[in-house]
Symmetry: C2
Subunit: 166 residues, 2 copies
DNA sequence: TTGTGGTTTCAAAATATTTTGAAAGATTTG
DNA sequence: CAAATCTTTCAAAATATTTTGAAACCACAA
C-alpha cells in the first residue's frame, strides 16, 4: 500500500466510524486529515483535499475547535488562518471524554436521579424504580470510566489493572 | 411527578440520548418501553403506546433482538408474539459492549494494524505512523474497557478500582 | 476611505435516514 | 383446504441532517 492509499484509507475509515458515533463525516474527515498533516493547513487546503465547500469547512473547523481537538495557528506575514490538530492522542481522548461526559452523561444522571424518586405504590412504579436504579449504576460506571480517562495523566496503572479482566 | 409523566420522560430521554449514539429514536424508545413494562407487550401495544407504524415496530423489534436486548415470548393459547426486555441491566450493558466491540472496535483495530505497517521514508509517512500508533493505543484502551464490562460477572472489583481515579 | 483577501453565516438544495402502510408471507384454526 | 390472524417486507413518503454557495462580514493596507 502506498502512502497516499494509506492516507485515503485512514480518512475514509475514520469518517465511517464517526458516523456510527453520531459525528458527521466532514468533521471526522477534517479531523483525520489534520491529525496526519505534518504542517498546519489552510481552509483552502482542506477544501481541496476533501472536496468540500467553504461553508462546510468553516463550520466543521469551528466545531472541532469547540471540541478542543484542533487549534488555529497564525503564521507571521500570512493573512489566512491555519489549522493544526492536537497530536497527543491521549490528550485528544481526554478531551473527547470530557465533552461527551458533559454533553451526554451528566444530563442523563440528573434525569435518572429525578425519576428514581417517584413513589412506588403500583407494581409498574416498583418495576420502574428498579430499572432506574439499575440504569443509574451502569451510567455511573460509564461516568467513572470517562473520569478515569480524563484524570489519568499516565495510563500505565489503568493498563495494568485492565489486564486483570482479560 | 406522576408515574405516567415519569414514564414519558424516561422514554423521551432515552430516545434523545440514543440518537446522539447513532441509534434511532424508535428503537431506543421501544427498548425503553419494554424495559419498564412489568409484563411482555404485543406489537399492537407498542404501536399504540409509542404511536408508530406496524412496519416500524416490526423492524426495530427485530433489530433489538439482533442486539440481544429483548426476547420474544409466546403465551400459551395466544397466537400473537409478545416481547420482553432483558431486565438485568448489567447483562444489557455487557450485550451492548459486546456488539459495539464486534461492530466498531474490531474492524478499526484491523485497519490500524494494516496502516501502521506502511514504510516511513518521508516526514509525512513518519508522522502518519506516529498517529496510527497513538490511535492504536487509545482504541486498545477502549477495547480493554469494553472487555472488562463483557467479562465482569460481578462489578465490585471494577467499582473498587475505579475509585482510585476519583 | 476603499479595495483586497480572507472568514462566517444561513437559506436553500442535496442527501441520508427513518417511518409509513399496503401487499405479500406465515402460521394456526375450523 | 380456506379463512382468520398475525408478522414481515419494501417502495414510497416524510423527516432530519448535511452540504453548498453566494452574500454579508471583518480586518488590514494603501
Amino acid at each position: 500500500m502506498t502512502f497516499d492509499e494509506a492516507k485515503d484509507k485512514f480518512i475514509h475509515t475514520w469518517g465511517t466510524l464517526a458516523t456510527q458515533w453520531g459525528i458527521n463525516r466532514s468533521m471526522a474527515q477534517l479531523h483525520a486529515l489534520l491529525l496526519i498533516a505534518p504542517q498546519p493547513l489552510a481552509t483552502e487546503d482542506v477544501m481541496e483535499q476533501l472536496q468540500i465547500s467553504r461553508g462546510n469547512a468553516s463550520m466543521n473547523l469551528r466545531d472541532l475547535m469547540d471540541w478542543g481537538l484542533i487549534y488555529k495557528q497564525l503564521k507571521p506575514g500570512e493573512r489566512r488562518e491555519f489549522f493544526m490538530a492536537e497530536k497527543d492522542i491521549w490528550k485528544v481522548a481526554r478531551q473527547v471524554a470530557k465533552e461527551r461526559r458533559r454533553r451526554e452523561i451528566t444530563p442523563v444522571v440528573e434525569v435518572l436521579n429525578e425519576l428514581k424518586m417517584i413513589s412506588t405504590d403500583t407494581p409498574e412504579a416498583k418495576e420502574f424504580q428498579r430499572v432506574m436504579e439499575g440504569l443509574s449504576s451502569v451510567v455511573g460506571f460509564a461516568d467513572n470510566t470517562l473520569n478515569a480517562v480524563i484524570k489519568a495523566e499516565e495510563n500505565w496503572l489503568m493498563g495494568q489493572f485492565l489486564k486483570v479482566f482479560r
